[in-house]
Subunit: 282 residues, 2 copies
Amino acid sequence: MTPAAIPTIGVFDSGFGGLTVLRALIERMPQARFAFLGDTARLPYGSKSRRTIARYAVQSAQFLVEQQRAEFLVIACNTASALALDAIQQAVPVPVLGVIEPGAQAARAASHSGDVLVIATDATVQSHAYTAACRAQSLRALEKACPLLVPLVEEGWTSHPVTEQVVRIYLDELSTEAASQSLHPDALVLGCTHYPLLRPLIERVAPAGITVIDSAESTADAAVRLFNGRAAAAAVDNSPGAPTPETEIHCFATDSVEKFERLGSRFLGRPVGPVELIDLGG
Amino acid sequence: MTPAAIPTIGVFDSGFGGLTVLRALIERMPQARFAFLGDTARLPYGSKSRRTIARYAVQSAQFLVEQQRAEFLVIACNTASALALDAIQQAVPVPVLGVIEPGAQAARAASHSGDVLVIATDATVQSHAYTAACRAQSLRALEKACPLLVPLVEEGWTSHPVTEQVVRIYLDELSTEAASQSLHPDALVLGCTHYPLLRPLIERVAPAGITVIDSAESTADAAVRLFNGRAAAAAVDNSPGAPTPETEIHCFATDSVEKFERLGSRFLGRPVGPVELIDLGG
């Protein structure tokens, strides 16, 4: 493969949780070049208005397309996918994929009852983006904000008894709510890019008969489908296996890179390497 | 008292945790006018660089002094106090008080051994501002970041068994570390404006013989000392008791005010009233 044939895939998050999506992308497209931007100066997007989030997300997308020459964009951030996907698609001349729709599609494939549960951050739940995306798949979704899970993951307590207790409390509340609405959920969507690190714990705690949907995995699968037949097809490795060492990854952040470098490897499953500080203004 | 004699005290935080400081100020100066600004569009400051924090904090301080005519400023934010107090003092022509030094002074008054513990957010601990302020009081300080406590408070779990467990874990780790350094701490500084809501729980869980220092209370005491003899003296009510209903409070935020309005009353101990959205740019 000549260097010219190597596509650049831009991956964007408000922080570094989206590295779980990058990890899943690398596993499927080990020969692509990846540029990952964490807009850490302005995180969390979750507490901000739609207008502000769209402005930040568009600036980030433009950096990846214009400065890093990304030919495809993956919005590895639930809040930005929920509130700014349209704005980004209008602002850049490349295909853009969010995380919400792939999660809903994977839930559709997994669910027999048509009822699914979604756990996410407060901002994502308040946007009701998963409810809308699930409805488009003829699914009924019940969403719950789980604001303690991101800090528990960032504390590194991914298999800690406290985290198990918190997950049990959240899932119990969700089950009670589902029962009160006469829902019979058989799928649980992890609607936050931090949650894949809790997947083993959540699968252990979740009620029997519930399939856990990792939207990082679903998004990476959707990316492969979207990119297949395009330039990026050259980068798709159809053989299973670990990421090849030659995958080229460049990470950028808009503010202090220390936490990104320190915690990022947990999310990426390998060292993130040096993170370059950039200025998007504002 | 004529309206002209009523001083305006500006209180600033990156979010709404600083409302615990405002609450303590109101108790002591019920007849002052208060303007509280939460820079919610750009929180949390903790993950940002000193340069960025100083820029944001100076803009916020200038809003309170120039637009709201504050004659005194209280920086009710540990991160901004730790990293931007000098920059704010240089930028505005009014007295400015942070939360760190009053906390250290209160610890000095409470401690006999000269060894104190400080719990705070990651950013505050990394700044070592409490260690420096304690050293200036001839105290040895041992600091610990407790990143789960803010989200637990914001979840409303201020007396929840999970929170008690988390506090026990943090304090046990801190005690072990203190013992390994041959320290004999007898005071524990709550170095985050969210933590006063956990004070009853922390006092129950803390080892015997430890005095818990609430830096919101200490800061309000210091504000009274600073403002006494100045214009604000008229506002100081030396009689103890609940805040009088006439206290004038105006709250401002730089982005979505919903969470501020919803959670703010827990911190302020009364309804925050309508929160006005303002734009500081950037």
